[in-house]
Amino acid sequence: MDLLQTIGGYLFTDIRMAAPVLLAGLGLLLMNWSGLLNIGAEGTMLIAALAAVAGSHYFGSVWMGLLLAMLAGAVFGLLFAVLTVTLRANQTVVGAAINILGLSLSTTLNRVLFGVETTVTKVDSFKVLEIPLLSKIPVIGQAFFAQMPIVYIAFLLVPVMHYFLFKTKPGLNLRSVGENPRVADTLGINVYRTQYLATIIGSMIIAAGGAFLSTGLLNFFTEDMVAGRGYIALAAVIFGKYKPAGIMIAAMIFMAGNVVSNVLQVAGVGIPYTFLTMIPYILTIVALTIFASRAVAPASLGKPYKRG
């Protein structure tokens, strides 16, 4: 029983840590299926993490923080769409610019809003929401049903997104834009509008992941706190073969690596910390090699579309 409880605890940590990467991955997926390659998830998450703290600080509610974060995400998404869809700029370059913008803007605004201090401004944060009965299931109950609301949202988005993309007409339209925008256009689908919507909504989902980092796992913002999760999400999308469930598995495997390194360090087995830091990445590569089959990207991913 004790062992089972421990495993339940590991699962709990794994799910909680996977949630932000999962959200970012799902947001990126939406954009990818519309034919846009956005590597700017890191920057979007950073500005969202700050916006969440600012919103929570000024309005006193963590949900207002989430709303503000998603608004900030929408603005970043709009910027990306204007530059890549309307002006047809190189998507990778714009994505990189979004990352730099997110890092510098969040740093600057953080100093302007909260000052240069050795402490941080603490705000209202998400609380655990236990689901009655289900959370009493041994081993997995606490792990799956005693999480913060935003974790449930992240994992519920997996089937929702799958249904939307692969079972509905708007989803089919979105994918056809990503596969062949010209054909989609001749069939009367508004390519630009689809891409704009996908980018803005996708960026808002990414932003929710950023908000969870600052107001879910913690209750403050620190500079560069996303620490590469935006890039992990990018990899998770490819690893997950452009499927929501795949992204979920990828995010959970990666974070399981972090749980393993936590366990090994606490056990004091004497492995140098630099090796422990590698574990999530090694685990991901190993999993990728074992389960690898070709990930088929949307055919027009990253190619700008010019109408007429």
């Binding site: 309307t86 002006l87 100093r111 050795t118 603490k122 796992l217 620190t222 620490a227």
Partner: protein, 353 residues
């Protein structure tokens, strides 16, 4: 139409860049009047007016990192407030670029150039030899076992400056706080400014608690507070009931974890009571503001010392924060024991720290 928009955006961007450049620090010194200084005068002798001295801090990171760079920013700010000089600093300097930054300020005859971090050792040594008129301070981390001494080179206008034995002080307090006899200290990365502390923890704990199990390890990150929090939770769930960390912003995650689980924590590098008021009993800080004020005055008064300039606990190299009411919340014998050990360490009664 779209081309027009693109051109318009480009023009806006350029204007923006020019505007930002225009706002860049205006306190750049006037280079037209070079001062006559003979070589060799640097080492003592010449007295300077503190308010006319030019000081700059060259930093590896940002001034809001809650750690290493922030404490240096506060040092120059302290000098600026007290002596009316300009608080000049440069952030985010890569190791490969440091020599050029130093050269720029040395050419401008800056009196005190703080090169903040041992990773810049080679650049600082090279430039100190080239520019004997400026005083160079290389912020350094000293291990308690004195193995650092071999790395120091003898250059008359270069000082390796830093506090020592902070880890001993932190460890001593941790040893008293623990109820389970399990304490953990997590460094961010294996770099001199962090290993200097990690190296003293075990010795410190053994001063106050011979039975306590001491764990010291590294997180592998200086920015990822979320990851640090999960790591700290794993330690706390394993029975560790006192935690402290030195990992810039990432360490805040450890303090947050301590508060969530209701165990004790020690802040570090700044008074971090506010981060987790129900966990952070005390904060221990590198006293760089006092150290660099001391060095600054030694340049002004002509009593500059080069080589290893070490500030021990006795020399006030390390400071401890206020109790913030914890002296009422903790059992009295723990408060007394902590006060007692701090006093003794500062007086040198427990050994030469």
């Amino acid at each position: 139409m779209k081309k027009c928009l693109a051109v318009l955006l480009a023009v806006l961007l350029v204007f923006g860049a020019v505007a930002i450049a225009g706002c860049a620090p205006k306190d750049q010194p006037d280079a037209s009047k070079p001062k006559e200084t003979k070589a060799g005068e640097v080492d003592g002798g010449e007295k300077k007016d503190p308010s006319k001295m030019k000081v700059v801090a060259l930093l590896s990171g940002v001034i809001t990192d809650n750690g290493w760079n922030q404490i240096c920013y506060e040092s120059v700010k302290n000098l600026a407030d007290k002596y009316g000089i300009a608080a000049e600093y440069n952030e985010n300097i890569a190791v490969s670029d440091m020599a050029e930054y130093i050269r720029t300020y040395a050419e401008e005859k800056y009196d005190m150039i703080i090169v903040h971090g041992s990773q810049f050792k080679a650049s600082a040594e090279e430039m100190a030899r080239k520019y004997p008129d400026s005083h160079f301070c290389l912020s350094y981390g000293f291990r308690v076992d004195e193995s650092t001494a071999d790395q120091v080179e003898d250059i008359p206008n270069l000082a390796y400056v830093g506090p020592v034995n902070m880890g001993v002080l932190i460890g001593a307090i941790m040893g008293i706080l623990t109820d389970n006899n399990k304490v953990v200290f997590l460094g961010g990365q294996d770099i001199p400014a962090i290993t200097d502390i990690v190296s003293g923890i075990k010795e410190g704990v053994s001063l106050t608690n011979k039975d306590a199990a001491v764990m010291t390890d590294y997180l592998g990150t200086l920015t990822d507070a979320d990851l640090a929090k999960e790591r700290a939770l794993a330690f706390i769930d394993d029975g560790y009931d006192v935690i402290s960390a030195s990992a810039n912003t990432a360490q805040l995650g450890c303090l947050h974890a301590a508060e969530e689980r209701g165990v004790y924590a020690l802040g570090f590098n700044g008074d971090q009571y506010g981060v987790a008021p129900n966990a952070v009993v005390l904060s221990v800080m590198r006293n760089y503001p006092a150290i660099y004020e001391d060095v600054f005055l030694s340049i002004a008064e002509g009593t500059w010392k080069s080589g290893m300039v070490v500030y021990t606990l006795k020399d006030n190299g390390t400071s401890v924060s206020d109790w913030h009411g914890w002296d009422k919340k903790l059992p009295k014998e723990k408060v007394d024991a902590i006060n007692d050990v701090i006093q003794k360490l500062y007086k040198g009664e427990l050994g030469d720290y």
